[in-house]
């Protein structure tokens, strides 16, 4: 697309996209760190992740202010309007991702002992890998304005949901087998739920990216397959 007549407008849009990307990077890192702290029971890493979240919040606030300012000053239309509204929503989602990662990190401190059953952690790790790659892909899609990639991210969310469902069942089984593990399992379950929510946020971002690029809503062609909602 050609440049705006007012070049400062282009600079602002670029700066805004850069900041959202930076936020994405921070959220990704927080998420990865939180989960690795969980798996390795690294309290120091967990604590630093919690502290790091503040940066993400500040950045989010900063972006929000910038966006409002741009709306006031530039009265965006068309593509620009979509980019700005999408950026607002994406920043929101990323801030939530950060919060969820922080929550996972907090639980690491709460569990406060080695995971007795490493098998449980493997399921969580696997789910994390998938959710993390979803987040990565959608952030790439945002940077490259790739509607097709965004659509693929949305489709792939079903996989995260499926893993979550199986993990849920697994944890239930453990709790029934060994009531001593209930505390740990509940924590893990909440962590898993958080990760699943991160996946949902990635999907949200994907939808926004799709709208931003094409101007149309991404059709929600799949049933929400979260079987746990009824029971949990």
């Amino acid at each position: 697309m050609s440049e705006h007549t007012v070049s400062a407008y282009d600079d602002e849009l670029t700066a805004m996209a850069g900041k959202v990307a930076e936020m994405g990077g921070l959220a990704e890192k927080a998420f990865a760190d939180a989960v690795s702290a969980l798996v390795s029971q690294d309290l120091a890493l967990a604590k630093s992740t919690i502290v790091q979240d503040e940066r993400l919040d500040n950045l989010h606030q900063d972006i929000e202010e910038k966006l409002i300012e741009m709306i006031v000053r530039r009265q965006p239309m068309g593509q620009d309007l979509r980019e700005i509204t999408a950026a607002t929503r994406i920043a929101n989602d990323l801030e939530r991702v950060g919060d969820l990662a922080k929550n996972v990190a907090k639980r690491v401190i709460a569990i406060d002992s080695d995971l007795q059953n490493k098998k449980l952690a493997i399921g969580v790790e696997h789910m994390t890998e998938l959710a993390l790659s979803q987040l990565k892909k959608v952030l790439d899609a945002y940077s490259s304005k790739d509607a097709e990639a965004a659509r693929r991210v949305q489709e792939a969310d079903a996989e995260v949901d499926a893993i979550y469902t199986s993990l849920f069942r697994e944890l239930l089984t453990y709790m029934m087998e060994d009531p001593r593990s209930i505390t740990q399992c509940v924590h893990l379950l909440f962590c898993a739920k958080n990760i699943e929510r991160i996946g949902d946020h990635a999907t949200n971002i994907a939808e926004n990216v799709y709208y931003m690029v094409t101007g149309e809503r991404l059709p929600e062609d799949r049933e929400k397959m979260d079987e746990t909602t009824g029971t949990a």
């Binding site: 697309m1 050609s2 440049e3 007549t5 007012v6 239309m77 068309g78 309007l81």
Partner: protein, 265 residues
């Protein structure tokens, strides 16, 4: 936002008020308007936007044949209002202009009293049989234009002594006074301050109930605020026409996109 689909449906069902078919306008050798096809819905506001010199005003003026006053101007194709071709040799432009009123860019009240400004149209068209009927037309036109409370005590003061916004609303009242069906507005707010602009826009929104309004504007925000449908002109071509919300959030044509986002060279 929510009522948009309803309006769209409603307008889609009714027959269009104005329909232009392959309209060409030439100024001498200059081909100013090329192949414009457009359907304008009754009782709605249609905005024409586009860069300066894109032909939007020219096209607007073909709708009430104001272009007739320009000597080298030639119009081809057909423009129908209620199915009647306004360029038919049987049509008298004066009669047409009583049906299709016009409000201009610069407020241009006659240098006469407020009363005479409004009464002029009805007088020359013989719409009032006596003084009291004329009084009624004047007061109801001013009321419709939302000007009555401001001027009812000074109807014999000159219309040129009012503020710019009042003058423009006086011009709208003057256009209404001859009971037109269509009102064309050529950048009616370009000389007004934001408050006066808001009042005129509010008025346009009210008039939509009874009149078909076509407005040319340079302000995209204004087009977005007042219109139900928007048409984008560029270099004499009607590039894109559609529901206003679509034009401003998700235009189909790259030229429209570039224009509304401020990317035109």
């Amino acid at each position: 936002m929510n009522e948009m689909p309803n309006i769209e449906q409603a307008t889609a069902m009714t027959e269009s008020k104005i329909s232009a078919d392959k309209v060409q306008v030439y100024y001498g050798d200059n081909h100013a308007i090329k192949d414009v096809d457009i359907e304008i819905q009754p009782r709605s506001v249609t905005a024409f936007i586009g860069p300066s010199g894109c032909g939007k005003s020219t096209f607007l003026r073909t709708i009430n044949r104001m272009n007739d006053t320009i000597e080298f101007c030639r119009v081809e194709g057909s423009i129908r209002i209620d199915g009647e071709d306004i360029y038919d040799p049987k049509v008298d432009p004066v009669q047409l202009r009583a049906k299709v009123g016009m409000v201009f860019q610069k407020p241009n009240p006659f240098p006469k009293s407020i009363y005479d400004n409004i009464a002029y149209g009805p007088r020359i068209h013989g719409l009032a049989r006596n003084k009291s009927e004329l009084d009624d037309i004047v007061s109801s036109s001013l009321q419709k234009a939302g000007l009555w409370d401001e001027v009812k005590d000074r109807l014999d003061e000159p219309g040129t002594g009012m503020s710019g916004g009042q003058q423009q609303r006086l011009c709208i009242a003057r256009a209404i006074a001859v009971s037109p069906e269509v009102i064309l507005m050529d950048e009616p707010c370009s000389a007004l301050d934001p408050i006066a602009t808001a009042k005129v826009e509010e008025l346009i929104d009210e008039l939509r109930e009874n009149y078909t309004i076509v407005i040319v504007t340079h302000s995209m925000q204004q087009a977005a605020r007042v219109s139900q449908r928007t048409a984008f002109f560029h270099l004499g071509v009607l590039v894109e026409e559609g529901p206003t919300d679509n034009i401003f959030t998700n235009p189909k044509d790259k030229r429209t996109q570039d224009y509304i986002t401020g990317r035109f060279g």
